[in-house]
């Protein structure tokens, strides 16, 4: 799976990801990326063809390496819909926060990129998750556990939207959740768990709630 890119290529891809995530695609110069990756400027064109194609490669790199995970997680386990939903949320949160940089790049691309190929890749990837969730919800409804009237696509957006807000690490979050003197890791972990708890609670409520 990781045979697609050589070591040096991955080195570049991850440097690009780091820069794209904080400065955006247009804001990151090929020179800076090369410098960050510790390679020659010309190497990027040499390996990826162009800056645009480098961005695409960043997506292929990350998406390829993380897609299957979730499918297996849910597919065959012997769990009820609620439990499955909890596992799904935990999985999504863990995955998105682990690759926070990449998801910032993704969000940015969604926001400003005109590249249609990219838009397709992103939509496809999200679609995969949606289908999963829709199946899961449908199953729960069939079993009369989940209420009718749940808007699955929007519920899906609520999950990812909330995580994105946390992943962007806005100044707002720093005020609302003061870091104090915790270590970076401790703070991150704490935030991640609070997020999981909040999402599980909220989504479960939405699925079980009887109101209109």
């Amino acid at each position: 799976m990781s045979e697609e890119f050589s070591g040096k290529q991955i080195q570049i891809l991850e440097a690009a990801e780091r820069l794209f995530s904080t400065r955006g695609f247009v804001g990151s110069s090929v020179r800076d990326i090369a410098h960050e990756a510790g390679v020659n400027v010309a190497m990027i064109a040499y390996y990826f063809g162009s800056k645009e194609k480098l961005l695409l490669s960043v997506f292929h790199h990350r998406i390829a390496s993380s897609r299957i995970a979730l499918e297996h997680l849910l597919a065959d386990k012997n769990m009820g819909p609620i439990e499955k939903m909890e596992v799904f949320i935990e999985g999504v949160v863990d995955r998105m926060l682990k690759h926070k940089d990449f998801h910032r790049v993704l969000l940015n691309a969604q926001l400003t990129s005109g590249n249609e190929e990219l838009a397709g890749i992103i939509a496809d990837s999200k679609m995969k998750n949606l289908e999963l969730v829709q199946q899961l919800i449908a199953q729960g409804q069939r079993e009369k556990i989940f209420q009718r009237g749940v808007n699955a696509p929007l519920l899906m957006l609520s999950v990812t939207g909330t995580i994105y807000q946390v992943a962007t690490g806005s100044a707002y979050l720093k005020v609302a959740f003061p870091k104090g003197d915790k270590s970076d890791e401790a703070y991150e972990a704490e935030l991640r768990e609070a997020l999981k708890k909040h999402l599980k609670r909220t989504i479960k409520a939405a699925l079980l709630y009887e109101g209109k």
Copy 2:
């Protein structure tokens, strides 16, 4: 309220907003903005000093003009907490979707801008809303209507995060909510109402849900 900027300045600000929203800040050239606004390139420097300051002005323009709205909406009305929450959500959705472009700019700025002044403006603005919501929730809890255990800041992020996902108009959304042959306005309206319904349902559920 709108005395701060002259007609021609507003013309520029809104052209900038439009471009920033689709191409990002770095991706929009001053020349393009000038062209979009139908003014001379030099005029942007003349009126705003620099591209960076133009971005700040875009924020001042929008934020100044929409801040007070919500406060009054909630302040003195004779409503119960649930009703208030519904009014709040409707207000936020309407406001954010009305100024979709601006909120895309905001999201982009949050994601990639290193500008501290800007980060401050954004955080301040969000903080205002959070305080409102926290008061609202606290009141509902005091009245034993809302459950304890609700994470107000994260709930807040779920609301804005969901709306952002809709506002970014991702390719995903176009697939999950096919436009069909509806007019732009009709489609927008339908989506907006679906979003309101979803959010009201979900947030209410989260506030009333008794589970852990």
Copy 3:
């Protein structure tokens, strides 16, 4: 004589002189000059037509106001050639150091300006002095006081060249003539007197020296 320019014009001329002297002609923007003079930007075009013409006016202003001085100083006095030369040198040093800024502008114009009208004005002005000095030297030679073999134009250049070097206030001078804790005025005066002494001594020596 000073009726040529109004008060506000002189205000501008002297602001221009100050800026031109430290930043050069091209390096001084019309905006900066207007700001330094405390007037509107458009006023400079209004009064002088263009930046180039403003520079010319700076010359007319200074040269007109100082030309005659020297002629009278020497013309009819009842002095011997040596004494006259000393008076001349003192006069030139005083004049050039009093209007140090202007002479920096002049030197700069000589160095970089392609303006022919300006070059003419400068050459004319210098020519006046040269004629004076040549007459003076010729008289001294006729009276067998000054030696033959003196190169009058180059001697003239040695005088102005030396003063220019002092007027430019090079870093070199600050090292060779340390200011110590003298006041600005005291230091200037001391330097001026040292310069006069040096020039009188040197020029007299050159005029009286019998060597080849």
Copy 4:
């Protein structure tokens, strides 16, 4: 000695020197320099980083290549102080007129540049010469050949100041020393010799003159 800059770099440096010398630093655009050097505009940034650094490089190029010359000229020769002074003057005149363009750039920089690094380089370079001359004069005085009462730093300024006046090639000079129908080279040579003769005569006179 000339290994510091590549052939193409020197090509640019000398084009810059030519333009700076006639139009000043601010008056010479990078585009013009590139055109004069027959290279691409971007190449200047590529090789020198910025226009300012290009100017510094012009100085390093010339100063490095001409510094040592003089020291050796004087150091160990078996000459009396007068002879040494004559050799010194001839050397300085030759050097400064050979690199007339550069010395115009230098004068201009002295006049208008705010660059401290540059000011330092210039002052250092002049200081070297001053020390040499001061030693030379002191030796002459010890040997009772030169008079006391000579102001060495100012004498130094008289030498360079005079040469600068000639090097600037003012309109005045063209009138006082008409070129007639001589070739450029012949005229230059004649002027150079006249200047040497004048300076040697004048400086010797000043050093030997007994008057106050």
